[in-house]
């Protein structure tokens, strides 16, 4: 069975600084997808970034980028130039070809002014 592990329950970052959230996963599949979702206090789940396992190049979306290490089964999220609006819960998620999404337990990010 696939699992997703987020080992940092809470992180803090100073405004304008960079922070990295960790995620590891376990699977025997070779083809799969990885995601980071953001959940602000509004409770809405918002897709931040996605990565296809067959792509070696790390995905980037503006200030958000990932470090995808397939052999190590690691998928970390880097947030550059952190803003107050980045404060939220962040969930790492995995999906294989069955498209059953498996989520980690989340990391709460605090942004300090």
């Amino acid at each position: 069975a696939q699992t997703v592990t987020q080992s940092q329950p809470e992180m803090s970052v100073q405004e304008a600084e960079t922070v990295t959230l960790s995620c590891t996963y376990d699977t025997s599949e070779s083809d799969y997808y990885l995601f980071w979702y953001k959940q602000p206090p509004s409770r809405q789940m918002i897709l931040v970034i996605r990565q296809e396992a067959y792509k070696q190049q790390n995905a980037t979306e503006n200030r958000f980028s990932v470090n995808f290490q397939k052999a190590a089964k690691s998928f970390s999220l880097k947030i550059s130039d952190s803003q107050l609006g980045d404060a939220a819960m962040y969930f790492c998620a995995f999906a294989s070809g069955t498209y059953k999404y498996i989520f980690g337990t989340g990391t709460r990010l605090k942004v300090l002014a």
């Binding site: 997808y33 995601f35 409770r43 809405q44 789940m45 969930f91 999906a95 999404y101 498996i102 337990t105």
Partner: protein, 112 residues
């Protein structure tokens, strides 16, 4: 918001009563999901559907049933609510051609 509407948004119910949560989508997507979110557990899959009358269990399906009699509606039923089912419930869809899921706004259910 990907055209997903969950109802109700909030509900308080008593232990032992049946409860049905509704997820409605406007764009005829095949794949629909029900998740529950609890502190320390993230989101866990309850049931999912890949078409009308095609459903399957997720990792936390005990005590829940689902129905999908038409494409746009996916219903989650708690046959006899228990306090352990107090949670926030999310519906999600996966549009064709997309790898990611899109989520509804969630339903906060409290069982007292």
């Amino acid at each position: 918001d990907a055209g997903i509407t969950q109802s109700p948004r909030h509900k308080v119910t008593e232990t032992g009563t049946p409860v049905t949560l509704r997820c409605h989508q406007t764009e005829n997507h095949r794949y629909m999901y029900w998740y529950r979110q609890d502190p320390g557990h993230g989101l866990r899959l309850i049931h999912y559907s890949y078409g009308v009358k095609d459903t399957d269990k997720g990792e936390v399906s005990d005590g829940y049933s689902v129905s999908r009699s038409k494409t746009e509606d996916f219903l989650l039923t708690l046959e006899s609510a228990t306090s352990s089912q107090t949670s926030v419930y999310f519906c999600a869809i996966r549009p064709g051609g997309h790898t990611e899921a899109f989520f509804g706004q969630g339903t906060r259910l409290t069982v007292v």
